[in-house]
């Protein structure tokens, strides 16, 4: 069964003369338990696809199937139990006046769990934070710790699919390694399906099995990570991206 199936997805902002097409007839398919990466430069529409799936983009057309079922408008609570998202900037995705405990217990109670205390400790354990972090406020946490809290929040409803919007781009490289390892472990442990957006080919190459390259709102090429590593690309833009990231990484 497919995890995420997207066909002919268009997303636009504004109407008539002011209409801006952020995503143009995008197709992609992520098998259940798979891990798929969306790559592109800023403004290529890669994050917009995630937002459209989650129901955060106001106007879209096309087909979005999650676990074999078309999504509802507006999304139901069952949908949010199956699909969760981790945002790019952990400094912006946590409420500045809510402690870790408040964030997680609210999420859990919204999804109708009753054994909240036990689950909070379990979640904090899962993301490698431990009980001492439970009552801290965001300003008492480092960037990496915040992102772990955000991941714990996304894991709270026990989703099947996790959408990751540049989860490490705001973090230092050593912290990035920790978070990427955590994501790898969680996927194996909870049998999650990942759809990850990043501008960093190396990060996507590490986490994902297949990638789609986006440019100006269109998916220009979909290929496996092995092909990408072997530079077996057909599209010149993919080649250009690969070359510039190898150039800046090689030194």
């Amino acid at each position: 069964m497919s995890g995420i199936e997207i066909e002919g997805l268009n997303v636009w902002f504004g109407e008539y003369e002011e209409r801006v097409d952020a995503v143009k007839s995008a197709n992609l398919s992520v098998p259940k338990g798979g891990s798929f990466g969306l790559v592109g430069e800023s403004g290529s529409g890669k994050s917009t696809i995630l937002r459209a799936i989650m129901g955060l983009a106001p106007t879209w057309s096309g087909k979005i199937d999650i676990l074999g079922r078309a999504v509802e408008k507006p999304r139901s609570r069952d949908f949010y139990r199956a699909v969760q998202m981790v945002f790019q900037d952990p400094y912006a995705s946590l409420h500045p006046r809510h402690s870790v405990d408040q964030v997680l217990s609210e999420t859990l109670s919204l999804h109708g769990f009753s054994d909240i205390d036990k689950r909070i400790s379990q979640l904090l354990d899962d993301v490698g934070l431990g009980p001492s972090f439970r009552f801290r406020y965001p300003h008492q946490l480092s960037g990496g710790q915040r992102q772990r809290v955000a991941i714990a929040r996304a894991l709270a409803p026990e989703p099947k699919i996790l959408l990751l919007d540049e989860p490490t781009s705001a973090l230092d490289v050593s912290v990035q390694a920790e978070i990427l390892n955590l994501l790898t472990d969680l996927r194996a442990e909870h049998k999650l399906t990942y759809l990850m957006v990043s501008h960093d080919l190396a990060v996507v190459g590490h986490i994902c099995q297949d990638i789609a390259v986006m440019q100006l709102g269109e998916i220009v090429e979909t290929l496996s990570v092995e092909d990408m590593r072997a530079m077996k690309t057909t599209h010149h833009y993919t080649k250009h991206l690969l070359e510039s990231s190898l150039q800046s990484a090689a030194g």
Partner: protein, 316 residues
Amino acid sequence: MSLSDTPKAGLRAWLLTDTPTSRRHARAASLYQAWLSLKGNHMAMLGLGILIFLVVIAALASVLAPSDPFIQDLSLRLTPPIWQADRDPGIEGYILGSDSLGRDILSRLLYGSRITLYIVTLVALMAPIVGLLVGTIAGYTGGWIDIILMRITDIFLAFPRLILALAFVATLGAGIENAVLAISLTAWPPYARIARAETLTIRNSDYIHAVRLQGAGPMRIITKHIWPLCISSLVVRVTLDMAGIILAAAGLGFLGLGAQPPSPEWGAMISEGRKFILDHWWVATMPGLAIFTVSLAFNLLGDGLRDVLDPKDGSQ
């Protein structure tokens, strides 16, 4: 990454910790840290001191006042304050002088502080709450609800404040409660605007998106996630506006539409003293100074609170 350790007392260390161990501990620690930053602002502390002094005076007015504020003694009318008494020797007991009916101005000021506090509290309870409700609902829902609510706000904003209050009092009848109601009805639109503007910036932040992705409804998002962030800037604004509210109440009193005689409301006292202002300056000046001091205190405190609470500067 090194903070040189300074020895700390047990409670202080417990309150300053970065690793709270329970819900109550976390809340106490963040309150204490806010208090510490407020304490660092000397002007704000001066303002707070004056306001605490005002509350104490109001509570103890019956003990502190040298005489009954309503007792008239026409033979001792318009007695000057004590330091000018040498011009008119032999009269004791009127520290700040007496008014045109021979009532003790100091006692009237002390009792008047109760009325001032009453007005301030009632307005502070009504206007910001109405404003917060209207502003956050308009800002979060958007669309036609936003348009309707904001046009109503605009209509209220377009009226000169004192004139609108005058109209209300004229229809409802003069009196202190109606004055408060009138002031509240004219004071809420700016709060609605602030709350709406704050909501618009908060609405599209990732942490609101995140809670929407948990299936939270608009009521929950507004009350639990948006209000806590709007309230701090409203508290600041209310404190800064308090001076204006006291002045508006005094103005209504001055025009004879607020507190009615013989009530020792400060604005009404100035109004009475106006007739004698050239020959007997103290009658209007003393309540004027009282209004000035309290307004200044609110302004100083509001400025300090802004430094502590404004989410834009953050507590980071």
